[in-house]
Symmetry: C2
C-alpha cells in the first residue's frame, strides 16, 4: 500500500498527451495526463472513459457536440461514443478507465502510448 | 450526457459521512463525501475502495496502520482490508468504488446510507 499525491505526480509529467497510471481500483486504472492540442477523434467500443478536470480548461468534443470543461468538472464518455479533447493551453486531467482501454481508442497515432509506457512510475 | 462539477457538488453536501454519487464509470460509482469524526472500522470483502483527498486532511487507518492523507493524495484500500477514516475537521473525499459496495462495509451503523440515498441528485 502506498500513498501517491496527484499534485506532485502532475509536476513530474513532462510529455503532453501521454497518460500515466497512478493507481487502480477494481478493473480500472486511474491515470493523469497533461492534454494540449487537438487530439484525434477516436472511439472505445467497449470501454467507458471518465474525465475529471484537475487544473485548466478544455473542450471535449463528443459525437460532434462540444462541452466546455473547467476545473472540477467530471464527465463520462460512454463506450462507443466518438470523442476528442481540444485544449489551447495545458489542461491537467484525471482519467478513470478500464485497464484494457487504449487511450487513443481505435486510432494508432504519434501520441499513442502502450500500457507499459503508461505504467512507468512517476 | 451531463457535466457535473465536483467543487459545486461538494458545496451542496450538508450531511457528514454520507456519500453521494456524482458519476459512474464501468462497474464503479464516483462518490463525494464530507468526512468528520472517527468512523467505525469496517471491511469490504469483495470490493476495492479508492480514496482521493479533495480538500482537507484525514487519517486512514488500514489494518492497524495509520496513513496521514493530505490534499491530492490517492490511496487504494484493497478488498478485505479492515479500515476506517478519522478526521478532526471536515475532509472532502472523492471515492471510487464498485456499485455493489456498501459504504460502511459489513457494519450497519447510524451513518449507514442505502445506495438510493447516495444516488439522490445534488
Amino acid at each position: 500500500m502506498k500513498v501517491k499525491n496527484i499534485n506532485k505526480s502532475f509536476k513530474k509529467v513532462e510529455e503532453l498527451c501521454s497518460p500515466r497510471v497512478i493507481s487502480s481500483v477494481e478493473n480500472c486504472y486511474i491515470k493523469i495526463a497533461k492534454v494540449k492540442g487537438k487530439l484525434p477523434m477516436h472511439v472505445h467500443d467497449n470501454e467507458d472513459e471518465l474525465f475529471i478536470i484537475h487544473r485548466g480548461t478544455m473542450i471535449l468534443e463528443v459525437e460532434g457536440k462540444k462541452f466546455d470543461l473547467v476545473e472540477g468538472d467530471i464527465f463520462l464518455v460512454e463506450k462507443g461514443k466518438p470523442h476528442r479533447p481540444i485544449a489551447d493551453e495545458i489542461c491537467e486531467v484525471i482519467l478513470v478507465e478500464k485497464k484494457s482501454t487504449a487511450h487513443t481508442g481505435d486510432q494508432d497515432t504519434t501520441i499513442t502510448r502502450t500500457i507499459e509506457e503508461q505504467l512507468r512510475s512517476l
